[in-house]
Homo-oligomer: 379 residues x 2
DNA sequence: AATCAGATTTAGATCGATCTAAGCTACGCA
DNA sequence: TGCGTAGCTTAGATCGATCTAAATCTGATT
């Protein structure tokens, strides 16, 4: 899928570092002649206002030592000539770009969309721009995006890793000296600031609720095996089962892509088993919504014929029919905290790594139904 | 809501251009002493490999005139010293940042999320990075984001305007010389490349379907009045009514925020009228989903007691209960085309403005029900 | 040996800002 | 009158790359 074609432009300069130096097509960058560039610069302002570049710079940065009259004169020139600040040039000198890389695995998942909004908001208020990257859960793209952020260079990176299976990526992220914060998922072996939720507790809560309703055959649906949050959730799932002296049946743990489609297929697979489960905790709400769809397509009714609990509490969870029971995770809070942590990390690059873990909350709606043991069950 | 606090940092330099030069707090930018900056530069590589900066630059850019042995030597040095390309520095010289600003009104709307993914993908393959900005339908934020993109400076901007009511914004966007493409919505008075869908045809199709089912009191729910796509859709709505000799009843046209909540409230308002409508076309699917929620909360059943058609065909539309009838718009196609147009515009800044309009498609599911005239109706 | 073309390499200017350290005023005071 | 000082301004170096125009090096040709 990616890269579709050898991308052009300098962005891949760092590629020369890896792979054998294959004889790529000659790449004359930016052959298009630089446009006449009518950009108004500090120089122009200085000339117009009859002062030096340095003075104009002081005015722009609002340094208060400039005389009031001079200041007015300069501001007036800026207004008249239509001056536009050039961040790139300033960044080169100050060694700060005020850009933050944000790498998520799936923008179309409302969980991430809400995190993005929160992060953008917080960082924007602090004067930073967000460079958004979407990995589509792909290690290759994740790798490329991180390289890009380094080249930019971004002042910091907020990252939700796609998988912890790539040693190359783990090494790269550990070596890169950019301040960074992980969110929603960790990367084992990388000591780093992290904002997430108590996945174990959340999953345990959910499964205990299902067991409390009388279910004995409970599945865990969806998610990629190499993702930290899934591992933790499965621990919680197993813990709840263990506490109730129920063994973990591996055939009830079905991985999948962490989206609707993944959930749909995983549920189909579960229902095809000789002794299918009667309930399931899903890796996240997208998976759960896919699972609901699968149930509907086989004529079963979620809540009545099968109990489903999701994870995240996206807006859709309360609106779909049957409404989805789920573990609420407050993505906005996660985003806000991650941004906050990164800003602090940038300010103090050498403080020790911190972790912020939010407690999730069980929200019971319709999809997990009521007491199961009273029903037709007991086969 | 915004800005919560006076944002710091150079991002607001251009602010000095407007407002009266109020005595802001002294702002010494980036007081933190520049970090020791152990960045490996071209210079370092050149010294290590025993060549000049220029030669290293040639190697990096893969210009083929460099001798094979020299090339190898340089690549080896780069590898050993851990060189990371510095886009910012290069951009300053080449006058191209390979960054594209992308301004949308609501990331959490899956319609936009899918557009974003498509755009990112296409631009990424062309060697560009995406700077994402979310306006939350706010003119102020939209204004700030555009300024930011100009300051960056971005090589181009993809923009879905929040509203066409701000003259200041219209002027600013018209004056800014950055290559730009509008998508999903236009801005009247700004001659510019544009990618969108045939809103008039889509809305007309939807309303004609509702009329065909026997409805006579059809509403138009949601959306902000100053948005081009809504205006076009209302034209289509009116056209369909007119064709069937039904007058437009202004009390049946209820604007709202273009999201779930907006749809919820707008529908509540409609149902409270003395003679409520029996069907509605919604501004978009998010609004429609909110409307469904409102119906459900009042005990009415969409499809049976009220017919709803949405707009966009987001994933959720086919999954909610009742499944949402809607006008499919293929956001992925829109994103791809917008990116394509922008790339061409960057290559040829002076070609005349082009418009790409996709034809939408009516998708009938459950929420609009079946023939209405056969029912209890006919009051 | 001199000349020349073609192949490589490079010095130095440049992009547009910031920063340092020094310079210039004007004023107060001895 | 001279001098320190506070207040304001500025020349020139700098960030890390690219680009231009010229220099250097080959080897072949005359």
């Amino acid at each position: 899928m990616f890269p579709r074609s050898q991308p052009a432009g300098p962005s891949l300069a760092s590629n020369h570092l890896k792979g054998p130096s294959t004889e790529l097509e000659p790449r004359f960058p930016d052959r298009s002649p630089a446009p006449p560039s009518e950009r108004v610069t500090l120089m122009d302002i200085a000339a117009d206002a009859g002062v030096s570049r340095a003075t104009v710079s002081l005015v722009i940065r609002n340094v208060p030592i400039v005389a009031g009259t001079t200041r007015e004169r300069v501001l007036d020139s800026m207004r008249r000539l239509g001056y536009v600040y050039h961040r790139g040039a300033a960044s080169l000198r100050t060694q700060r770009t005020h850009a933050i890389g944000l790498i998520v695995t799936d923008i179309t998942n409302p969980f991430f969309a809400e995190i993005i909004v929160a992060i953008e908001d917080r960082l924007g208020n602090a004067g930073y721009v967000t460079l958004l990257g979407n990995t589509s859960e792909t290690v290759a793209k994740q790798e490329r995006l991180l390289a890009l952020m380094q080249e930019y260079p971004a002042d910091g990176v907020l990252l939700c890793p796609a998988t912890d299976k790539s040693d190359q990526f783990t090494r790269r992220i550990r070596d890169c000296r950019i301040p960074k914060v992980f969110f929603a998922r960790t990367l084992p072996g990388v000591e780093c600031d992290y904002v997430g939720i108590d996945n174990l507790a959340g999953a345990q809560m959910a499964v205990e609720h299902l067991l409390g309703l009388g279910h004995r055959r409970v599945a865990f649906i969806g998610g990629a095996t190499e993702v930290s949050s899934r591992k933790e959730r499965i621990k919680g799932y197993a813990a709840a089962l263990g506490k109730n002296r129920i063994g973990v049946d591996d055939s009830y743990i079905v991985p999948s892509a962490p989206d609707r489609q993944g959930g749909y297929h995983a549920m189909n697979q579960l229902l095809a088993q000789p002794q299918p489960p009667t309930a399931a905790l899903c890796f996240n709400d997208m998976v759960a919504l896919g699972a609901l769809q699968s149930l509907a397509s086989t004529g079963k009714r979620a809540g009545d014929d099968f109990a489903i609990v999701g994870f995240d509490d996206v807006a859709e969870a309360s609106l779909c029919r049957p409404a989805l029971s789920t573990i609420a995770t407050r993505p906005g809070k996660i985003g806000e905290a991650a941004a906050e942590l990164l800003l602090e990390r940038i300010a103090k690059p050498d403080q020790i790594a911190r972790k912020v873990i939010f407690q999730p909350e069980l929200i019971v709606r319709e999809s997990c139904g009521h007491a199961w043991s009273n029903r037709k069950h007991h086969s």
